[in-house]
Amino acid sequence: MSITGKNIRKSFGDPSIEVLHGLDLIINDGEFVSISGRSGSGKSTLLYILSTLDKPSSGEIEIDGLNPYELSSHDLHEYRNKSVGFIFQFHYLLPELTALENVLLGPRNLGLQEEYKKRAIELMEEFEIGDQAYKFPSQMSGGQQQRVAIARALIMKPQYIFADEPTGNLDSITGLKVMKFLQKINKEDGTAIVLVTHEPDYAAMAEREIYLIDGKIASRDLDAHV
């Protein structure tokens, strides 16, 4: 069980400029991988390709041995619904819904909101936002909102979590807290985590670091680094 990228290239614009120059990488089951590098080095672009939100211009993506772009639209959405959780820098919550309802959006898509309610509350308690369950996003702090977003990403017990600078908008204490949560999920639930960050400290908290320089992988295995 893994996500494999083979010779991934990505270009934008016309005339096209190549942003990713033929990357090869594997995200193994249950692994915690960080992708770091300067701003503009292609971190987000790579993350979106690994998470099926974007298509590579050339090269191949395989998820558990399957090409996601050969799946039907229904199966692809089901994969995103059940197996993938996203956390973005801007903790997009739906302002009309309470924290709990936001967390339950994934299950609701399958009509399972009632079944998952208990787990949602447990998750929120674990993230120390249990008392926020019935509040609306506008009534919560940025850190609390981000933890709601993380709980939402985790509710379906996904196989993979893709996080794009989840700590980018948080102060360092809250940022560290979020990182600890991610580590804990990875250890306790065996959820694979792909974390994009430009902060070296956070990158180093992963089991494995991928460092991008101008769309190329500069360091493959920094196991020694950990």
Partner: protein, 415 residues
């Protein structure tokens, strides 16, 4: 998605309310206008003497010819040489061969009923009071099958005229003019000078002063005798199994004789024209209002979608497919259309009830209230129009939203 759509709408109470009212206003206006128009239409329609006659057969208003006039003035056997021969038009029409019409109409399976009539103008008088009247001779049993005159009888029945015997039913205005009462006798005279006594046995009131002032109904045989034209038939009204056949039948029958054969819409061309003008007016007004409401829905959704890009991206990344995004916004438009339509129906109905309840100082038809139609089709049309406007207005932006890919949004949001 219905749930989320509902929540999103509730969070924009002001805009939602505004559009909601716009849609209900459009629906309401249609119901009010159509209620009044259809109400007046059926009132006017009933006022037409031949309201269920689909074909009207009338004699040509023949030229007055010397040969007919001479014996009336100078006796049968006089030879008269006119310096200026009499000329002009007869005011009453006369069918050339009524019996052949009776035979033809009786045998036609498309004919439900027909009623021959003779209409003449004359003078009614009682002691020193006199007034001009339109005297119509009818065959009562046949006439009631063709018109709803019976509904307007205040005293007596149309069928009381059966068998003749110089009995009359008169309009309420005629009674007033003459100072007469039902049960009393009045004199009728035609232009020829002779006058005959008739007994008033019934009172009719059409609710239209102009008509009620001159309306006099009698048995056709009595009227023929009064007019000294035994057997004369002025016109025949015909009811068909299907009003749509009237044109075709009229065209065919007109080949059989010299008489005029008119289908209903030809005979009432003015009425038909008024109806189509009303129809156009109603459609234009309602169309304009629904267009405004539709644009409102379209705009509110378009603005909302551009404000909610982040949320669309989140939903998409959670695995909500394009169809779910389409639903999210489509439902909001449809809910506005549905709710607004229902409210509009309610408001329209209440306003119609109110307008109908107003006591007018004049009589219209059977009462002194505005005639209002509560035909179900009005309500169905209004509601359907609101739904169609809402559906189109919400489908377009909703479809555009469903085509956004999550990444496009995330990238643009990240700057």
């Amino acid at each position: 998605m219905l749930y989320l759509a509902f929540r999103q709408m509730l969070s924009r109470k002001k805009q939602t309310l505004l559009i909601f009212l716009g849609v209900s206003f459009g629906t309401m206006i249609y119901i009010v206008i159509a209620g009044l128009q259809f109400g007046f239409r059926s009132y006017l329609y009933e006022q037409l003497l031949n309201n269920t006659s689909h074909v009207l057969i009338t004699g040509k208003e023949g030229d007055i010819v010397e040969k007919e006039i001479t014996p009336r003035f100078f006796g049968e056997n006089e030879f008269v040489r006119w310096l200026i021969p009499p000329q002009g038009k007869r005011s009453e029409s006369k069918l050339e061969n009524p019996q052949s019409w009776f035979d033809r109409l009786s045998a036609d399976p498309d004919v439900v009923a027909f009623a021959p009539r003779l209409s003449i103008s004359g003078m009614a008088s009682k002691s020193r009071h006199r007034t001009n009247v339109n005297i119509t001779g009818i065959i009562p049993s046949r006439q009631v099958k063709i018109t709803s005159l019976e509904d307007y009888m205040k005293v007596g029945s149309i069928l009381d005229l059966s068998g003749g015997g110089n009995k009359l039913i008169v309009g309420s205005g005629v009674l007033k003019e003459l100072g007469a009462k039902v049960g009393e006798s009045i004199n009728l005279s035609t232009g020829l000078g002779e006058s005959r006594p008739f007994k008033i046995i019934g009172l009719i009131e059409m609710g239209n002063e102009q008509i009620d002032k001159v309306m006099v109904l009698g048995n056709i045989r009595d009227i023929q005798t009064l007019n000294k034209t035994p057997g004369r038939i002025g016109e025949i009204t015909v009811a068909l199994v299907d009003i749509k056949l009237s044109k075709e039948k009229a065209d065919k029958w007109s080949l059989y004789s010299n008489d005029n054969v008119e289908s209903w819409d030809e005979a009432n061309a003015q009425f038909m024209q008024m109806i189509s003008i009303q129809d156009i007016m109603r459609l234009v007004i309602t169309g304009a209002i629904l267009l405004v409401a539709g644009f409102g829905i379209y705009n509110i959704l378009t603005i909302m979608i551009s404000q909610k890009q982040k949320e669309i991206a989140i939903l998409r990344s959670i695995g909500y497919g394009p169809d779910k995004i389409l639903e999210l916004f489509l439902f909001q438009g449809l809910m506005l259309g549905f709710g607004g339509g229902l409210l509009g129906i309610g408001l329209g109905f209440v306003i119609n009830l109110f307008m109908e309840s107003i006591e007018l100082s004049m009589r219209i038809g059977k009462s002194n209230h505005l005639p209002v139609s509560y035909d179900l089709s009005i309500y169905i049309t209004a509601f359907a129009a609101a739904q169609i406007a809402a559906a189109i207005a919400s489908y377009l932006p909703a479809r555009a939203a469903s085509k956004l890919t999550p990444l496009e949004i995330i990238r643009s949001e990240m700057g």
